[in-house]
Structure formats: C-alpha cells, structure tokens
C-alpha cells in the first residue's frame, strides 16, 4: 500500500469555486418589496442620494479557514508541538510581534499592514462551538440567537434607513444569495457585472415592448419569485452605471486569475460606479482542509493563502482613493483543531481569526485575547471575542447602525479595532 503521494495540488484543488452558503431557509416575514409595476412605474424609494458614503465588503472564507495558519501564534509552544508537519516556521512569519505573525504568502498585504490599514483579531467565533458547516453558517449569518426568523444581519443593517434600492446590498460572484442577506430588504445576487441585463429589451420598432410585457406579467406575481422579478426589472436600469465603468482594474491592480479575483474586481467596479451599494458580499472557498493543508512547500494552504493575499491587496489597489470609504472584513464559520490529523490536515475546530482592512481600521496590530493552546486530539482554540463584537464595531463606526437593530439582544465587548470604537 503506497502512501498518498504529495502530488495532485492541481488535481485536488481543481475546483476553487465557492464553498457555498449555509442554510437558505425561507425568508422571514411577509414584507416583500411591493413595487407596483405597471406601465407607469413610480419608484417609491430608494437611497435618497443613490450614493453610499460607506461600503462594507464581507469576504466569507467558506469551509472553515484555519485562522492559526494565517495569523500564526508563534509564541505558543503548543502550536508547534501539535502541528509537527504543518506549522508555519517562526522565522518565515511577516510583521511579527511578540505573539503573532502573518503567513509568508500574505506578503502582498504587508504594505497595508505597515500603513495601518490592515488588522487581525484572533480567537473570535460563535458563542458556543458548532462544528457543522451548514448549521454554523446559518448561525453566523443570521446572528440573532434565539429568534426563529430567517433574517440575516446584513439585511437588518441595510434596513435601518428608508432606502429600498435592491442595490444597497450586492452578492458578487454567485446567483445564490448568502443567508446574511436574507430578509425583507431586496438585494441583488449576481455572478458578474455583465449578467445584470435584460436581453431583447429593445425591438426593431423602437418600442420597449418586452419591458412593458414583463411588467404586466410580474406586476402582482406573488411570493419570492414575484419579488425577484420586480427587483430584476428595477435593478437592470439602476445597474447600468456599473456596466459603464471600465472592466480594467485601475492603478495597476493585479488580481489572481481565480473566481475571487473576478468577484472583487466586480465589487470594485460597482463601488466606482457609485450606485448606492453599501454592502457587497463575496465568497472564497473551500478552506475545508481535512486533508493536505500542507506546509510552505506544498498543500492547499500554501496555494489559497497566496490567492487571498493577492486578491485583497489588488482590491484596495484597484479602489485607489475610493478605499477611504471601503472596509473589508473576513469571516468564516469556525476555525480548525489545534492538533493536526493523520492526513496533514485539520478537523473542525472553534476559534478563528478575522481580518479587517481599509476605511476606519486601526491597523498594523494584532487584536484579541489569546487563551493559550492545549495539544490534545480534540483541543480547540477557544473563543474569547464573539465575532459579532467585531462586526458591530464596523457597523457602528462606518454606518452608525445601532447594535440593537443589527444584533438584537447582543451585548458587545469593546475591541477598539475600528475608529471611534
């Protein structure tokens, strides 16, 4: 019986495509976008200015990323004794402080770190361990423990004002929206910028018969499908400025040729076009490295950490001065075990890291309270900071959103990673 050769990086990793979202339960409540479509459409409502003063990009690292491989606790000796084959050597780490350092493949992010624009918070996560991808994702994105309503925290956040534009929140890179965007506020989920159009909209006679006809068919159609159709017709008009922006990344930004690169480039275009999007969600996965997480020479972490670093850095380069209003935060459903398994991988764990980049971030620093590691088979990195405390600081600092509205019933702790918090 031969050992599995350390081959097949390209083979095992052939599909990077979305480790997709968590439970997509039925939306809560009856409130639907009830735009009355007809031959005469009166737009009720919309972000009054159509401009977003702040933008949050939520980058979900799907599949439970191993935070300790990205922000390495080099000063904790258990990290090395528990991971003889896959620990990142201390001397290779970047921007080290007394406790942590960044994985070397995050090198493209070092300039932002040094400019005080990138921070990391360790040992974050859910209130109690939840090792099911499916269930944890729902919990993380719903962020409303104890309620049976299926409404995501981002939908609550954009619902704080009277704007009703479906472009307030955009899922970029996939047609299926994440649970964090579920709820009464209409949102847009799209694979890419060019997909948002109505084919056959103008006909040879010059009459826009197709649009009128779709309005007739869908004006009063019930349920989520009707809501989606009315949203689609509205969005097609409002998304044109995004399609009018150049598809070429600006300022020499160099995205990796992966779906995450395309999605962030699309996000940058949407921000440049200034159509009122306050929230853009993007996915990158799968990080579910039960096997072959590997080391600096080979394995999945090596590849994916490179892509992550390059994509995030390219995004802010592409934005240029617009980066002054954009905050990117990473999130994952849970972290991974302290001790490596028999397959150079890690099973499901608990505590994890969150990155924050861009506007309002008090960067160049590692945050969080390190609980210390134990090296048993079942040991986890514990959670000392609820992930909602991190997101809450972004919501308050950048959007003036109230904790009570976005995270009902939650008492946040102060981390101080965002300006004014």
């Amino acid at each position: 019986m031969t050992d599995q050769p350390t081959c097949c990086d390209e083979f095992a990793g052939a599909s990077r495509r979305g480790f997709l979202r968590g439970a997509l339960g039925a939306a809560a409540g009856a409130a639907a976008v009830s735009a009355t479509f007809g031959d005469v459409f009166t737009s009720t409502a919309y972000a009054a200015t159509g401009t977003a003063e702040s933008v949050m990009v939520v980058l979900s690292l799907r599949g439970a990323v191993d935070g300790m491989s990205l922000v390495v606790p080099h000063a904790d000796p258990v990290y090395y004794s528990a991971r003889p084959r896959i620990a990142v050597p201390s001397e290779k780490l970047l921007v080290k402080d007394g406790m942590f350092g960044l994985h070397p493949n995050l090198a493209p992010l070092v300039p932002m770190w040094k400019a005080g624009k990138l921070a990391a918070v360790q040992a974050t996560g859910l209130h109690a361990p939840n090792r099911s991808h499916f269930s944890a994702m729902e919990e993380v994105e719903d962020a409303d423990a104890g309620s049976s309503a299926r409404v995501g925290w981002l939908n609550r956040m954009i619902g704080r004002d009277t704007g009703r534009s479906p472009l307030q929140a955009i899922q970029m890179g996939d047609g299926v929206p994440p649970a964090s965007l579920y709820g009464p506020e209409a949102v847009l989920a799209t694979r890419d910028v060019n997909s948002v159009q109505l084919r056959g909209a103008s006909d040879p006679d010059g009459r826009r018969g197709r649009v009128a006809s779709l309005n007739t068919t869908w004006g009063n159609a019930p349920g989520p499908l009707g809501k989606g159709a009315r949203s689609a017709l509205q969005v097609v008009k409002d998304f044109k400025p995004v399609q009018a922006t150049s598809a070429k990344p600006q300022n020499g930004a160099n995205y990796p040729t992966e779906d995450i690169g395309d999605a962030l480039a699309g996000a940058a275009r949407a921000i440049r076009a200034d159509v009122g999007a306050e929230v853009i969600t993007v996915d990158y996965g799968s990080w579910d490295m039960h096997m072959n997480l590997g080391d600096l020479a080979s394995g999945e972490m090596r590849t994916m950490s490179s892509v992550l670093g390059q994509a995030m850095a390219a995004f802010f380069t592409d934005l240029g001065p617009l980066g002054d209003k954009v905050t990117l935060v990473t999130i994952s459903e849970f972290g991974r075990r302290v001790k490596e398994n028999a397959n150079r991988g890690l099973d499901h764990g608990y505590g994890n890291v969150m990155f924050l980049a861009g506007a309002g971030v008090k960067g160049g620093k590692f945050y969080g309270q390190w609980p210390g590691l134990e090296g048993n088979t079942d040991s986890d990195l514990l959670v000392t900071t609820d992930y909602r405390s991190v997101l809450n600081e972004v919501a308050r600092s950048r959007f003036n959103a109230s904790t009570a509205q976005v995270f009902p019933g939650f008492q946040p702790e102060r981390i101080g990673v965002m300006a004014g918090q």
Binding site: T2, A26, G175, P177, R191, G285
Partner: protein, 529 residues
C-alpha cells in the same frame, strides 16, 4: 363577432396533436381593460382571453402530476397520462420503470466515453491529458440532463435526482471523479427501492469515501468528516446526535478504503478499522472484529430505520414535492409510512400523492436552474442529438444551467443544493431565465446537434386570430388556458392586437415568434411547478 375557426378536418394538416375537437371560440369571464398610462396606441384595447378548444388542455390534476413528477408538462406527456387512465394510474405505472420502454434514452450513455469507463481508465485519461477528470464529471452531469429531458421513466429520473441530492457527492473536478458516474448509477438503481439499502451502498461507496475523507480515515487518527455528515445530513439531522456520537460514527466506518492514485480499487482495510465498543444513540456494538463491514451494515440499518431519519426524509420529500412549508401532519404521516414499510420508497410516494395537501399545491415550488432549462427544452420541443463537438447542445446545456445559477451536482457542500423558493428567486436568476427563454425561443443557441421547431409550425391552423394563437400556445407550453394578463403581455411584447389575423406571412411567423414564445415562458406559470 369572431369568425369560427377552421374545422377539425382542415386543422389536421397543421395539428401535431392526436385528438382534435370541433373548434369553438368562447370568451373567458375575466377580461382586462388597459388602464390609463398605457401607450396611446393601445389605450382602447380590451384583453379578453379566448378558448381555442381545438387544442387539448389537461385537467388540473394531470398538469400538476406532470409538473411535479416529470421535468415539465408537454402535450405528449399529457396524452400519455390520459392513455394510462389518468394521473393515479399513470403514476402507479411509473413506479415500475422496468416495464416502460425507453430505447432511445437507453443509448444516451454512449454519447460520452467517460460515462461507462472504469476508474483506472478515467485516471489514465486524466494523467495522459486525454480527458481531464473535471470533463468526465461535466459529462456525467450532461448525461443526467438529457435523461431527465427525454426519458419516459419520469418518476424514476425525478427520484434519482432527489436521492442524488440527499446523498450528495459533487460532480465538480475532484479525485472522486474516478467513481462518480458509478455512484450515480448506484443511486438510480435504488431510487424507487429501499432507503436502507441505498444508504449502505452510498456510505461505503468509494466516491463518497473519497469525497468525505472516509477512504483515508485510519484507526490511529479517524477522520470525522463522513461520520458527522452521515448523522447530520443523511440520516438523523442536526440536534439529534452528540459529539460523542460523531466520534463513534467515524470509528464504526473506518476500514472502507480506496487505493487512491493507484488502482483506485475500493477494498476493506482491517488494519484501519477501529475496534472496541461503539455507541451511537441506542445502537451499541462490541465491535471486536477488525472486519467492521458487518457492524457498518447494522449501524447504517439502525440509522435508516430511526424515527428521526424517517421524519427528516419525510420532510425533505414534502418540501420537494408539496411546498416549502409542509404541514407537520403530512410529515408525520409520510414518516409513519416509511417506517411501516421498512424504508421502502414507493409506499411513501403513493401516500404523498394521495394527500389533499399535495393535490392542492400546484405552482408553489419555484423551478430550479436545471428544472427551468430542461422544461424549456421540453416545452419548445427541441430535439438534441449525440454531440459531435464541444458546442453541441448536449454539451452546451450544462453551461446554460450554470448561467441560471447552478449546474447539476455542482453544489460544493455535502448538504446538497437548496430546495427553498428564496434561493432560486434572485434578480440575477430571473434575468438569466428571461435571457435563455428568449434565446432558445429564437433557436439561436445552442444550434449544433439540435433541432428546433420552425416558427410556422407553432400555428395550429393556416389562419388564426392572435388571441386564439395565444390560447393555443398557452395550452401547449403551459398546459392551461390563457389569461387576460397573458394575452395583454403577448400583445405588448409583439405589438400585435388580439383580433389580428395571423398567417404564415404575418410578422409573427416571419420574425416575432421568439418574442411570443418567450413571453409565455417568462411567466410564473412556467417558472413554477
């Protein structure tokens, strides 16, 4: 006063349908009069739908069973259901697929070499750069699409999709590509059989073992991935087991190995099997033998017969075939039937279609991306042939499903693609559906190795009034009478007025048919089931 339409005899030359009744035109009761705000040219128009009775329309029950238990109503299917003696008799006959002739579809597996190739061959072709594993997987998904599209064994295909999603193994580029086609065939062989037998074969299958890491799970360091998903997704469900159960579950199923990157044989490795007492829920076993195949079988049988599993499967069936919010009473009823019949699937399906809740649920489920594409091909009568190039329709249709949101088996997580209406109702899905309906209504893409109906073939008579044509097409494409709103939408899309006469030289036949057809497909009636 409307002219009487041509008689049945005159129609025969144009009608593709078997039975044609004497045609009469009757006005429907609901009319829509355009209100203020309509463009001036049509301000005075009244949209009164008519009944083109020369074209048969199915009963509501026939339409409903066709849309729930096939991949889309067509007049041909409607006639089959009538010939079988109605929905109930048709459904019962469908539960015996071996007795249903399906000769053309049976040959579809030869359209792509990889469908019937064994694991070492698939591996060799990948390594020698003849055909990448991702391509073999894509072809497997294509084969599933064309079977669903054209098979006479409708219920078998529908149930195969259901179980292949419940016991999901993705068909996207991966090491288990060597076994994925065989896995799908195994599921299909059990799709109308017994869940306990299906579960055992699925969990111990090399495709599942590679996908969820059981194929490399060793006694020294058991890998929990499959042990967990087996409990969470395939059987008991979230909240019905403990972390200790997960660990024991993983231990029980150690040993089912695959000789990966070598012969790809599935084999049992006694050295890898964890021995010692194991307990999951109320299942316990001394587990002394290094050969854990028997304890695996008994454990999986315990799970398959567990009431939590019964409820979970009953709920999934109800969500798939009834609505997103099935009653607890329905779920409990189906769970009871499942357990009473030792996990046999057919009795549960019979029980489901007999309920008032099922019968009253027409239109409550949004069609998924694959369902939309397949129904579009079926409704438009597109004939797809063996692909001779990458651009052929049988190959291109996979990308069409991706454009709408998700290709078959492309969901990357083990919980399988979502089955709630919200997930399939995003603005981008709607726009993609509108685009694809239009492009296919025009027969513009994909064109290779595909035959589309000619526009003039959609006219049921040499001369027909537009409102009659709309009703004829509504009966043909949607299986129901036209409504005032549909007639209005068709007039708006084409610029034709209701009483205008349409012939082979009319703009409708010459270049506007795609607009008319796609207007009918871009409706809730077509996009739900």
């Amino acid at each position: 006063m409307p002219e009487a339409p041509p008689t049945a005899a005159a129609n025969r030359g144009f009608s593709r349908r078997r039975l044609v009744q004497a045609g009469t035109v009757t006005a429907a009761t609901a009319a829509v009069t355009a209100t203020a705000g309509v463009s001036p040219a049509s301000a005075a128009v009244t949209y009164t739908p008519v009944r083109y009775t020369a074209t048969p329309v199915p009963t509501a029950a026939t339409r409903h069973i066709a849309n729930r238990f096939s991949y889309g109503y067509t007049p041909t299917l409607g006639a089959q259901i009538v010939r079988a003696g109605g929905p109930d008799k048709w459904f019962e006959a469908q539960l015996n697929p071996a007795a249903i002739a399906d000769t053309s579809v049976d040959g579809f597996d030869t359209w792509w070499f990889s469908i019937n190739a064994d694991a070492p061959t698939l591996w060799r072709r990948d390594q020698n750069k003849i055909e990448g594993g991702w391509q073999a997987m894509a072809n497997y998904a294509r084969w599933s699409l064309v079977r669903r599209m054209y098979s006479n064994r409708h219920v078998l295909e529908v149930m195969t999709e259901f179980w292949e999603n419940h016991l999901h193994v993705p068909a996207i580029g991966s090491p288990w590509m060597t076994h994925r086609s065989a896995y799908g065939k195994m599921i299909r062989s059990h799709a109308l059989g017994r869940f306990d037998e299906m579960l055992f074969e699925a969990i111990t299958h090399p495709a599942m073992g590679i996908y969820l890491d059981n194929a490399k799970s060793t006694a020294k360091a058991p890998n929990e991935n499959l042990g967990r998903e087996l409990l969470e997704l395939h059987t008991l469900g979230v909240g019905n087991y403990t972390e200790s159960d997960v660990k024991n579950s993983a231990r029980i199923i150690t040993g089912w190995a695959v000789d990966m990157f070598n012969t790809w044989d599935a084999y049992y490795n006694e050295d890898w099997h964890v021995t010692g007492r194991v307990t999951v829920g109320s299942f316990t076993d001394a587990n002394t033998s290094p050969d854990g195949r028997d304890v695996s079988r008994r454990y999986l049988s315990y799970l398959a017969h567990h009431p939590d599993t019964a409820r979970r499967i009953a709920r999934k069936l109800a969500i798939r075939f009834v609505s997103d919010t099935p009653s607890q009473a329905l779920v409990d009823h189906l769970a009871r039937v499942y357990l009473d019949n030792d996990t046999a699937i057919k009795p549960v399906l019979r029980a489901l279609v007999a309920t008032a809740e099922f019968q009253g649920s027409a239109g409550q489920k949004v069609r998924t991306s694959t369902e939309d594409i397949i129904a579009t091909y079926r409704a438009l009568g597109v004939k797809v042939a063996k692909p001779t190039s990458a651009k052929a329709a049988a190959n291109a249709m996979l990308y069409q499903t991706t454009d709408l949101g998700l290709a078959p088996f492309a969901w990357a997580r083990p919980d399988g693609q979502p089955d709630h209406n919200e997930a399939w109702s995003s603005a981008s899905r709607l726009l993609a559906s509108f685009r694809i309906h239009y492009v296919m209504s025009g027969g513009w893409y994909p064109t290779q190795d595909a035959r589309y109906r000619k526009p003039v073939s959609w006219l049921p008579a040499r001369t027909i009034r537009f409102d009659q044509l709309v009703d004829h097409l509504s009966r043909t494409l949607l299986g129901q009478n036209s409504s005032a709103a549909l007639l209005k939408a068709c007039c708006q899309a084409t610029g034709v007025s209701p009483r205008e006469k349409v012939t082979a030289t009319h703009a409708i036949a010459r270049y506007k048919m795609p607009r008319l057809l796609s207007t009918i497909l871009d409706t809730p009636a077509f996009m739900t089931r």
